[in-house]
């Protein structure tokens, strides 16, 4: 397969280093070190018996400069939101304000010990209390625990709260099912299963909303809850959700909101007002905290009065004298973490909330929705649009036409987009859209960036017809080409092999 254009590494110039072939373990020399350790000059206490001690330790031996260069070289092989547009659908990759990092790094915050007496950490606790109040306002669900470490853990907390409530109602043995739409994130069914429930999948209707007839048929005294993502993963409003909420409550079940897509509706409509009993948020999405290449995130769980006694510990409470305390709710499902949650992420989310205020949050959701619809309009006619109605924060196209006509997969389109300088959108999700391309521009992209993204996608659609191999071999300009994922899974190599020990 030959490379299009001139961007591809050709025969000219020096060969690029195979960075991946040499780990830190393969670099440096024995005896080098990157930090020194003070000497102990006091009285020596004998070490414990040798059977309790380690015999050897194989770690890299690099000087400080070498180690910094190695990880700097690795960072250059990454793409972050600071590198460019990152329209990864359902992940809300918005710009991460730097002031939030500065604030979270203040020594008064970083030095706080999780076992400290409450009176010694009032600055942190007051800030978390105000975040809790803000999230309650934004969701319309008055009670909040900030403890869950990520969205999936927030989901587990929420579903276990439903379990605890059903147990107190004496209905846990009979209510063993949770209903989940077929467009849901994989975490929803996985969470329901972790909490011991059977999952029933709900089909999506032609308009992209839940199929009402199926819900009515499935809702009975065996259902514990229904988990719904609002707006849904097609980027669409869940039509009639407030009526569905009534049906669910009449059937004695609870309605759970996956808040991954809160960005579309912040300040405009609230889960609590619509009839949701419990919701989790992803602060690393809507509240701009950096995702770190896979965390830390934060997944606060917010709920109604009825479910408040079951919230995971700790929750924040202001006592009469104005002191903020960490307390365990009366019928709490317990702790999700050893300590109090991903506090560094929570502080950043608070700073974000205070930088925006209500007008700012409305501006965020407004612009996020406008940007998604603008992109939808620019790409209309170039890619299939299985659910052709105005969208909220994201738009899901399909590469079916390209697949059928030019034998080019969405996978290839995504890889070719890398050559245009963009991070690809989410692909092959939601599962109900064949060859899905799920694009979420977010409000922090200027219109020029959205236009450039659309131009690139249109150029790729044209190229799919004129030079499909250019897509099939892409990316041509990335630090590395397509990788052999099949062999990686069949014959897993998961740790560094010491060439001197096993003769690998």
């Amino acid at each position: 397969m030959t490379a299009p254009g001139s961007g591809h590494e050709s025969g000219r110039g020096p060969r690029r280093e195979d960075v991946g072939a040499r780990l830190s373990f393969d670099r440096g020399e024995p005896g080098r070190r990157a930090v020194d350790v003070p000497n102990w000059t006091g009285e020596q206490t004998p070490l414990p018996d040798s059977q309790l001690l380690r015999e050897s330790l194989r770690l890299p031996e690099l000087s400080q400069g070498e180690l910094v260069r190695y990880y700097t070289a690795l960072s250059a092989r990454n793409y972050g939101i600071d590198s460019g547009t990152y329209p990864l659908g359902s992940c809300t990759m918005k710009y991460n304000p730097k002031v939030n990092d500065l604030i979270t790094g203040l020594p008064g915050f970083t030095d706080a010990h999780p076992q400290a007496r409450e009176e010694d950490v009032q600055g942190t606790l007051r800030t978390l209390l105000e975040l809790r109040r803000g999230l309650a306002e934004v969701t319309g669900l008055p009670h909040v625990s900030l403890a869950p470490a990520a969205g999936a853990q927030g989901e587990l907390a929420g579903v276990l709260m439903i379990t605890a409530a059903l147990e107190d109602r004496g209905e846990l043995d009979s209510r063993r099912r949770i209903l989940v739409p077929d467009s849901a994130h994989g975490t929803n069914p996985a969470t329901a299963a972790m909490a011991g429930y059977t999952v029933t999948h709900l089909p999506t209707a032609e308009d992209g909303s839940l199929d009402r007839a199926t819900i009515e048929r499935e809702l009975d005294e065996t259902v514990a809850g229904v988990m719904v993502t609002v707006p849904n993963t097609l980027g669409l409003w869940e039509n009639g959700i407030e009526e569905v909420a009534d049906l669910i409550h009449e059937a004695g079940a609870y309605l759970y909101a996956d808040g991954a897509n809160l960005n579309a509706i912040m300040g405009r409509v609230r889960y609590g007002d619509l009839g949701f009993d419990v919701a989790h948020l992803n602060l690393h999405k809507s509240f701009s905290t950096p995702h770190g290449g896979g965390g830390p995130g934060s997944g606060p769980v917010c709920c109604s009065e009825e479910l408040a006694p079951y919230l995971p510990a700790p929750v924040l409470q202001e006592s009469g004298d104005g002191t903020v305390r960490l307390v365990t709710p009366e019928r709490s499902i317990g702790r999700m973490q050893q300590f109090h949650g991903n506090v560094g992420v929570l502080l950043r989310a608070y700073a974000y909330l205070r930088a925006l205020g209500l007008d700012g949050l409305r501006a965020v959701s407004g612009q996020a929705v406008l940007n998604a619809n603008y992109l939808r309009e620019l790409l209309h006619g170039h890619y299939d649009l299985p659910y052709d109605r105005p969208v909220l924060h994201e738009v899901v196209f399909s590469g079916s036409h390209q697949r059928r006509e030019h034998d080019v997969r969405t996978y290839d389109i995504a890889k070719r987009l890398i050559d245009h300088g963009f991070h690809p959108p989410t692909v092959y999700f939601p599962l109900i859209v064949p060859e899905a391309l799920m694009i979420e521009p977010t409000e922090t992209e200027p219109p020029e960036a959205i236009e450039a993204l659309a131009e690139a996608l249109i150029a790729i659609a044209e190229e799919a017809a004129s030079d499909p191999d250019a897509l099939r071999g892409a990316p041509w300009t990335a630090p590395i080409g397509r990788l052999d994922e099949t062999t990686a899974a069949r014959r897993p190599v998961l740790v560094w092999q010491d060439p001197n020990r096993e003769g690998a």
Binding site: Q115, R335, Q367, L370, F429
Partner: protein, 457 residues
């Protein structure tokens, strides 16, 4: 209030009023509100009570004031009990702050995520070396949730429905295991002797060093678990493992740990980092993301040598593919903290990590000896220990702690409500390699004064 945007753009939102007008015209709608027409009118634009927005200087001033409301950072503190102040190499914060790392999402596109992926492979390698395990994932939330996941793996493997947790173990770990066990409908037994272990238990969970600081000989515990057909899960402090025998060498089947402290300051306990490593037979039952090493695919006419790269692998275990049959629901975990942990361990290197762990051991033992020598104070003997020790003084534990607080010293963690015989009226003090000598001197002086009863208030 109108749901329209105001005229002046926010620094985080680039589009201007003119931009919006142009975009709306292209879309063919009159105004922004029309884009929200699907939202039910009765619930639109509710009253929401949020404080007014702050400009950046105001925001910094407010949060700096809040940070200053916490106890002074210069204050001597002897708290450990799950969170330890470490000497973190300066290059850690420098490198993890590189936004190519910090502002990336999960590496779904390996061609432009090699930085995250190769670092993840480095992390797995470091974790396996420290723990003596064959395979590791790229990290879970914290040691407690990682230990809960280890229990769930043991349940899947053994098909048994009870868990055994061996005291002394961190109460937060017990709580989290119970939370997860509730979902799975499992029984949780808290054991004070391995004699209570039975063939109903999927695993025995042991903390190393234990919650009260003692170094455990894991081998007999592993033997006892294996005799009953149960797995041994060791929740081990990775820093202590710079000195201690790897749990894998002693027979552990799964090792978890807390990586936060090597990667940075305690930060009120989070973000944390759960380590998770196992013997290779459990690989396909593991939770979380795993990075594998591979080569570039090659087209037949390409004569170049394929280069080495890294991908997320064995994903058929995971929620986004397997959904309700996944090994766990975990998705976003703690990747950036794992990067910091990796760089810290590699910066210390084999000699530095050992020296640093030994320095920690020596400082802590020296402090304990000085306190034990004071009139009215006792350091109960519990066998070999690493960095934490019990102190019983002339006053009840809570009163001793508040007397120290009155002298601007944060005492050790109050363990007087525990059931071990040594913990009655005891505080659990922690001294690490990062505890300044002057803080220990201040503590010894204060304890002396309190012991002399010359500390009347």
């Amino acid at each position: 209030m109108s749901a329209s945007l105001s005229g002046s753009p926010h620094p985080y939102i680039p589009a201007t009023e003119a931009d919006r007008a142009r975009m709306l015209e292209r879309i063919g709608v009159a105004d922004l509100d029309s884009l929200f027409a699907d939202l039910p009118a009765a619930f639109r634009d509710p009253a929401i009570d949020l404080p007014p927005a702050l400009a950046e200087p105001e925001l910094i001033a407010l949060l700096a004031e809040r940070a200053a409301e916490n106890a002074a950072t210069t204050r001597p503190s002897f708290l450990g009990a799950g969170a330890y102040r470490r000497s973190v190499p300066s290059i850690v914060s420098h490198l993890v702050s590189r936004s190519e790392f910090s502002t990336a999402y999960t590496p779904y596109q390996p061609e432009i995520s090699q930085g995250t992926l190769q670092s993840g492979f480095e992390f797995q390698s470091v974790v396996c070396e420290l723990t003596g395990m064959d395979v590791a994932n790229v990290g879970l939330y914290d040691v407690a949730s990682a230990t809960a996941e280890a229990c769930l793996l043991a349940v899947r493997h053994t098909k048994r429905r009870a868990l055994a947790l061996f005291e002394p173990i961190h109460p937060g770990t017990v709580d989290v295991v119970k939370t997860y066990a509730r979902g799975a409908g499992l029984r949780v037994d808290i054991l004070t002797s391995v004699d209570a272990l039975s063939d109903e238990h999927a695993c025995l969970v042991v903390q190393q060093p234990d919650f009260l600081g003692a170094i455990q000989d894991l081998e007999p515990l592993a033997d006892a678990a294996h005799d009953q057909g149960a797995l041994l899960v060791a929740a081990a402090d990775p820093f202590a493992l710079g000195l201690l025998r790897p749990p894998g060498d002693a027979g552990a089947d799964i090792v978890t740990g807390e990586g936060r402290d090597l990667a940075g300051a305690p930060a009120f306990g989070g973000p944390s980092l759960g380590l998770f490593a196992a013997r290779s037979p459990y690989l396909r039952q593991m939770p979380g993301r795993i990075v594998g090493r591979t080569k570039e695919l090659q087209s037949p006419d390409d004569a170049r040598e394929p280069r080495t790269g890294y991908v997320l692998t064995l994903q058929a275990r995971e929620q986004f593919i397997r959904r309700e049959r996944a090994t766990s629901n975990v998705s976003t975990a703690q990747a950036l903290i794992a990067l910091g942990f990796t760089i810290a361990v590699q910066a210390l290197g084999p000699s530095g990590l050992r020296e640093s762990a030994q320095l920690c051991y020596q400082r802590a033992h020296d402090a304990a000896k000085r306190i034990a020598a004071l009139d009215g104070y006792e350091v109960p003997e519990r066998g070999p220990w690493f960095q934490e020790f019990l102190v019983r003084g002339p006053l009840p534990a809570a009163e001793l702690a508040s007397r120290l607080a009155a002298r601007s010293i944060t005492a050790g963690f109050d363990v007087s409500d525990r059931s071990e015989p040594e913990t009655g009226e005891a505080l659990l003090f922690c001294v690490t390699e990062a505890t300044p000598d002057a803080h220990v001197d201040t503590l010894v002086e204060a304890l002396t004064a309190i012991g002399d009863d010359g500390d009347e208030e």
